[in-house]
């Protein structure tokens, strides 16, 4: 999607500006109870205006991704209230589109068919699916890859397909969980610019989890800094940088001073730790059981599934 060849095929905004949602979190708390009780979220308060871009940043395993899953309705909070435009979030919600760290595409379907997946689930008529998928693939610059299978696409291209998929049902809130962490630094910068362009065209509210301070400052209207676990909001830094933003802005004095400000709030976290975390997450390999626990995913161990063992304890895979 280089800027040079996009305008001719570009479709109109997929959603009228102003349809973006305001988000309100009040006193959201969460504790995982199990073999080991973990207090993950501690009375998180956050108000997001429609069309705002929020970057969540914080030390390793502080619960940012968990907070995102609570917003997506995948994990239920123990306490507090969450609402989109005043309506509570009770479960996975069509007003919310979620982009995962990995593309999570269905390998047996084409790129286009992957984009249609949420529309199929929602029971859209075939023709509407077709038209919408076509628009979305155009929006992310992948029209010519519509028939390609994910296995034949690069990591960045796959993530684009997954972003198109997240936008399928015209969500008013787009959540992104470290979406570009598996990409190399240059591609990542390019994707940041593209994300802003997408945001301008779709007009959604965006909440993004990231480990990169420059990325957070470059993308966001506000950078929200979270404490180590249990996560609380410890700083809310407004980024008053004009839009549209360009990559050269990354080198400006304003960005540098904002980045320094964000860094000063990241208590108990050295640069090394952030860098290490980024490096670790950049490895697109399968999740370890520990990662799975951190992300609150079901404990299964692909490859060695035990079967036909009626005496297996309940909590063992």
């Amino acid at each position: 999607m280089d800027p040079a060849r996009e305008p001719a095929t570009m479709t109109a905004p997929t959603r009228a500006p102003g349809a973006a949602a305001g988000i309100s979190l009040r006193g959201v708390s969460l504790t995982f109870r199990g073999a080991r009780t973990t207090h993950v979220l501690d009375r998180v308060d956050l108000e997001v205006r429609p069309r705002e871009v929020i970057a969540l940043i914080g030390p390793n395993g502080c619960g940012k991704s968990t907070l995102l899953r609570v917003l997506a309705g995948l994990i239920k909070a123990d306490g507090g209230t969450l609402a989109i435009d005043g309506q509570p979030i009770l479960g996975p919600d069509p007003r919310v589109g979620l982009v995962f760290q990995e593309p999570r595409l269905l390998g047996w379907r084409s790129a286009e068919s992957n984009v249609r997946f949420p529309m199929e689930l929602a029971g859209w008529p075939k023709q509407r699916q077709q038209a919408r998928a076509d628009d979305l693939l155009g929006l992310v610059g992948l029209r010519e890859y519509a028939r390609a299978r994910p296995g034949t696409l690069s990591g960045g291209t796959r993530q684009r397909v997954s972003i198109a998929r997240a936008l399928a049902l015209e969500p008013s809130l787009l959540l992104l969980d470290e979406p570009f962490s598996a990409l190399d630094a240059l591609t990542r910068e390019r994707f940041n610019v593209e994300l802003l362009r997408l945001w301008e065209r779709t007009g959604t509210t965006i909440i993004l989890v990231t480990h990169s301070i420059p990325e957070a400052v470059f993308l966001a209207d506000r950078v929200v800094v979270m404490s180590p676990r249990p996560a609380r909001v410890i700083a809310d830094i407004a980024v008053e940088m004009p839009r549209p933003r360009r990559l050269v802005d990354l080198d400006s004095a304003l960005v540098a001073s904002l980045a320094a400000d964000v860094r000063s709030h990241l208590v108990d976290t050295t640069d090394d730790e952030i860098a290490m975390e980024e490096a670790r997450r950049a490895i697109p390999a399968g999740l370890t059981p520990k990662d799975r626990q951190a992300r609150n995913l079901p404990e299964t161990d692909p490859g060695t599934p035990a079967w036909f063992d009626p005496f297996r304890p309940e909590d063992e895979p």
Binding site: G73, L74, P92, R104, W108, L121, A122, R149, F308, P310
Partner: protein, 301 residues
């Protein structure tokens, strides 16, 4: 224009190159025909290399068949067994052809084929449903697994007379036996396949509000398809065994019956061998068909 007519360049891949070299004055026309010939020549090249590969893959199979027949003939020669103990390959082949030509073989083959295919379809469908239930519910696994393992551990051969007693000697009893024997490998493959589906895909489906039926049909079963088809490949050959076991427990038609008749009242041992050969052919063909279906469905992933 000095370029050759389209047809020749397309038919002869090498033509494109000579056309370009020989026609400096008609360079543009030559270039056009060269580009149009390129895909055709690539396709021809691919076809040729595929044929070469097919031949390369085939010759060991043919060679091993030849060796098998030669060794068989040698054993007959050296041992001096009479034909009613071990007939030679030639007399078996002759009997095989005769049985087909005089109409002895077909009724038995068709009866067995119907049993094998229907029995497999029944067993595989039941197993697919059970495998999905077992994969998704720990309770279902606990309730059912003792019986499944016991059913698998009990030889079907021992159960067959009982099933014939209960369900008669018609098609039904054969289908039940086939179902019993096909069930286990397909159910286990389905269960293991679905349990191994990447939980991240399931979370993704849940974030788009997939219901459990949608999750099964659109994520779990397609993702587990390679494993399921692997189980079915084993199952289809077992179905042949099930049909023969069922026929031995009581039937009036089928290759199992033909083997019994040939050994007993007819005492035509070459015919018995011919029936065995026919059974082996059915098993191999069904296996290959499953393999082709598998290639078709999951080969391009």
């Amino acid at each position: 224009m000095t370029a050759r007519p389209e047809g020749t360049t397309r038919d002869r891949p090498a033509g494109a190159r000579t056309a370009r070299a020989a026609a400096p004055s008609g360079a543009s026309a030559a270039a056009v025909s060269a580009t149009s010939a390129a895909p055709a020549s690539a396709a021809a090249h691919r076809r040729a290399s595929r044929q070469r590969r097919a031949v390369g893959a085939l010759w060991p199979i043919v060679a091993s068949l030849v060796v098998f027949v030669v060794v068989w003939q040698l054993v007959v020669f050296v041992s001096g067994f009479p034909p009613y103990i071990l007939p030679g390959p030639l007399s078996v082949a002759q009997s095989f052809v005769e049985a087909w030509l005089d109409g002895t073989m077909w009724p038995h083959v068709s009866a067995t084929l119907v049993e094998v295919l229907l029995g497999f379809a029944m067993g595989a469908s039941v197993a697919l449903i059970a495998g999905i239930a077992l994969a998704r519910s720990r309770l279902a696994e606990r309730l059912l697994s003792p019986y499944l393992v016991a059913a698998q551990a009990t030889p079907v051969l021992a159960l067959a007379p009982l099933i014939a007693l209960w369900f008669g000697t018609d098609l039904l009893s054969k289908l039940i036996i086939c179902t019993l024997i096909v069930f286990f490998p397909v159910a286990v493959a389905t269960m293991v396949g679905i349990r191994s589906v990447d939980p991240r895909l399931l979370e993704m489906a849940r974030s788009f509000r997939a219901g459990s039926w949608q999750t099964i049909t659109r994520v779990e079963v397609p993702a587990a398809l390679p494993a399921i088809l692997g189980g079915m490949r084993v199952g289809v050959t077992l179905s042949v065994i099930g049909a023969i076991v069922g026929e031995w427990a009581g039937a009036d038609r089928g290759l199992g019956v033909l083997i019994n008749i040939a050994r007993g009242s007819l005492f035509d041992i070459p015919l018995m061998f011919a029936a065995l050969l026919q059974l082996a052919i059915i098993g191999v063909v069904l296996y290959l068909v499953m393999l082709l279906i598998e290639r078709r469905l999951v080969g391009e992933r």
